[in-house]
């Protein structure tokens, strides 16, 4: 059975293989660091400290996790209807830009401005996610290719044209601005309740979205139809489900979630669309979704784990390891998750242990 088929149904096994994959990835990375001659135990201690050691680090973890949860949800929603959404990067970028523009242009009090800007972000992402869905359904263009192309188009249009030109911060003269857009109004900032920490409303928003997505997919008829389309579009169409419409809707939601992630980045952390935007969260969403077993609760869990990894990774420089090491751990985890059959014998044994004898499998 293809992995994709298995992922559409509510999953129990993926939790074990995901946990195992993450632990194994950490172990492999530990060994790699040892082999390269650096101080592995100290490095990993710094890693955990940087992720969990106090309100500051916890705030960083929360901030990064919230973005990863949303991009992970984006990929998971697309998976539900059987599509690979590799376009999270582009959808996030448009969402971030929309939030930056709305956060600057709209003169509203905070309780209205924040939701408005986030809504703008979601809408922008939804539009960019809708395109590949429609292209696949109505023109047969494979979504892997179209989303990758759309990523590049978004990056170039936003970074190379809009943020550098028409939307650049005023007063930057005639040279190409590297400062990004004008900063958003103070009323648009996501509130930070704890002094000394960048913890903001982002994580509750992300978790709330995960809960909403879970509810949609498992309790609402629309979600059921999406899952039916993902399990077999032909059969779904035959039983009266408007397949093409459902796929476009799901892709729009998928894009909206990624756009919302971009909105969180702008309203919570950057407070403008920055001249140098560290992209990569969109792509990481794929890893988050895969390791999380493509279920909403799984995505939350793996989003938090990978967010913690990223937050702590900057401290790895203290032992001379480049922070991109977190990406390596992430990649290995995905590699291990990609082949559940590797663990099949182990999983069977674990399942047998965790289940009382005589109970149904």
């Amino acid at each position: 059975m293809k992995l994709r088929d298995r992922l559409v149904a509510p999953a129990r096994d993926p939790l074990w293989s995901a946990a195992f994959a993450v632990l194994a990835a950490l172990a492999v990375s530990f060994a790699a660091v040892l082999a390269s001659g650096k101080n592995a135990p100290l490095g990993f201690a710094y890693l955990f400290q940087g992720a969990l050691g106090g309100p500051g680090p916890l705030g960083e973890t929360a901030v990064k996790s919230s973005v990863l949860i949303l991009t992970g949800l984006s990929v998971a929603v697309a998976f539900t209807v059987g599509l690979f959404n590799i376009g999270g990067e582009g959808q996030l970028i448009w969402g971030a830009l929309a939030a930056a523009v709305a956060g600057r242009a709209l003169d509203l009090p905070a309780p209205l401005l924040v939701p408005a800007a986030l809504l703008a972000a979601a809408a922008a992402g939804a539009a960019w996610g809708f395109i590949p869905g429609a292209l696949k359904m109505y023109r047969g263009v494979h979504e892997v290719i179209s989303t990758i192309l759309l990523n590049w188009i978004a990056i170039h249009l936003v970074h190379g044209w809009l943020v550098a030109g028409p939307l650049a911060a005023r007063g930057s003269g005639s040279s190409v601005s590297m400062a990004g857009t004008d900063p958003i109004r103070a009323a648009a900032w996501l509130p930070r309740p704890i002094a000394g920490s960048r913890l903001d409303l982002g994580l509750p928003i992300a978790v709330a979205c995960a809960a909403a997505v879970w509810f949609l997919l498992t309790r609402l008829r629309l979600g059921f139809e999406w899952r039916a389309v993902g399990a077999g579009a032909g059969a779904a169409q035959a039983s009266g489900i408007p397949t093409r419409l459902r796929v476009c809707q799901a892709m729009a939601l998928s894009g909206a979630l990624a756009g919302l992630a971009g909105g969180l980045l702008v309203l919570g952390t950057e407070h403008r669309y920055p001249g140098v935007f560290r992209t990569g969260y969109g792509f990481d969403g794929i890893a988050v979704a895969l390791v999380g077993g493509v279920t909403a609760p799984g995505v939350v869990a793996s989003g938090i784990v990978f967010g913690a990894l990223r937050a702590g990774a900057t401290r790895l420089q203290l032992v001379g390891i480049h922070p991109s090491f977190a990406e390596l751990i992430q990649g290995i985890a995905v590699l291990l998750v990609a082949a559940p059959r590797l663990f099949a014998p182990l999983l069977v044994r674990l399942r047998a242990i965790s289940r009382p004898p005589g109970a149904a499998p």
Binding site: K2, L3, R4, A32, S36, F84, I86, L135, R139, G140, V141, H142, V144, I145, S146, I148, L149, L150, W152, I153, H156, L157, V158, H159, G160, W161, L162, A164, G165, P166, A168, S174, S175, V176, F283, I286, A287, L290, I321, H322, S324, F325, A326, E327, L328, I329, Q330, G331, I332, V334, L335, V337, A338, A339, P340, R341, L342
Partner: protein
């Protein structure tokens, strides 16, 4: 205009090689999203090889080997463990991203670029050997696919592996060879980038060229000549865009983003317009189960 043409011949080879690698793998029935990662491994290995041996040719060989090694992981997951091939390819890209950055740091102590490495010699017209390979290889592959028995077997494996198996083709073994071959080509493409064109390894390499190669493959309808043609087309628009940005004033430079986006937008439009007639190999991406029903 000749400046433009030479620009294309300079920058196209990595894309052409990677696109050909994609064609080889997918015609045999194995989806290969991991071209980007294989190019990355190839580019880095080539730089390391050239640096430590002093020979760019040995560097190229290292690049090809590294690409093959990366491809072997994809082949293992996809063929032996029947993992989802798109997921396996994406995983490969993620690992390549982090691992190569890590290795760059450990080997050269840098997080940006490697030191300059010996690069390929250029002939009288300023061409490296890879430029000629990029011109000749598509024709060779086309010939192999359409005129040789091996090519027929490969194509059969991609369209209907069960029928091919009945005719005596060792499907899994042939697919594995094709995936490894695609790794060699993609690795060579990456090597051409670091050792052939730039003269060092840059941490961002191949900066999305692997994905462009995928687009070229789809655009070229999974044929060697089509994929190579599409790759040359992309390189040409890239060269055109670069020439344009040289002749623009600083104020107009802000429009650069639009020009940069043009090749991709154009590709998307063309795919949308003609996509109805494009078909991947019928068994592309479907894990082969010897005991399964055909």
């Amino acid at each position: 205009m000749s400046a433009g043409l030479s620009g294309v011949l300079e920058f196209a080879p990595p894309l052409v090689l990677a696109a050909l690698g994609g064609v080889l793998s997918e015609r045999a029935g194995v989806v290969n999203i991991g071209l980007e990662g294989m190019m990355r491994f190839g580019a880095f290995a080539a730089a390391v090889g050239a640096f430590f041996t002093g020979s760019p040719w040995l560097g190229l060989a290292c690049g090809a080997l590294a690409g093959a090694a990366a491809a072997s992981a994809h082949a293992l997951l996809a063929l032996r463990y029947r993992a989802d091939q798109v997921v396996s390819g994406i995983a490969l890209n993620l690992v390549a991203l982090g691992l190569v950055t890590f290795l760059l740091e450990t080997t050269f102590g840098s997080s940006g670029v490697s030191p300059p490495v010996p690069s390929l010699p250029r002939d009288a017209s300023g061409r490296t050997a890879v430029a000629w390979v990029a011109l000749a290889l598509p024709a060779l592959l086309h010939f192999a696919f359409t005129r040789t028995a091996l090519g027929l077997r490969i194509r059969a494996t991609g369209e209907n592996p069960h029928a091919a198996a009945t005719a005596g083709v060792r499907v899994l073994r042939l697919r594995a060879s094709c995936v490894l071959g695609s790794g060699v080509l993609a690795g060579l493409g990456g090597a051409a980038l670091s050792v052939g064109i730039v003269g060092q390894f840059d941490a961002r390499m191949p900066a999305g060229e692997g994905f462009m190669a995928l687009a070229a493959m789809v655009f070229g309808r999974w044929t060697p000549l089509g994929a190579a043609g599409a790759a040359f087309f992309f390189a040409a628009t890239d060269a055109f865009q670069r020439q344009l940005s040289f002749s623009l004033h600083a104020a107009d430079l802000r429009l650069q983003g639009i020009f940069l986006a043009l090749p991709y937008a154009l590709t998307l439009l063309l795919l949308a317009a003609g996509a109805g007639r494009i078909r991947a190999p019928a068994a592309d991406g479907v894990p082969y189960d010897p005991e399964g029903r055909p």
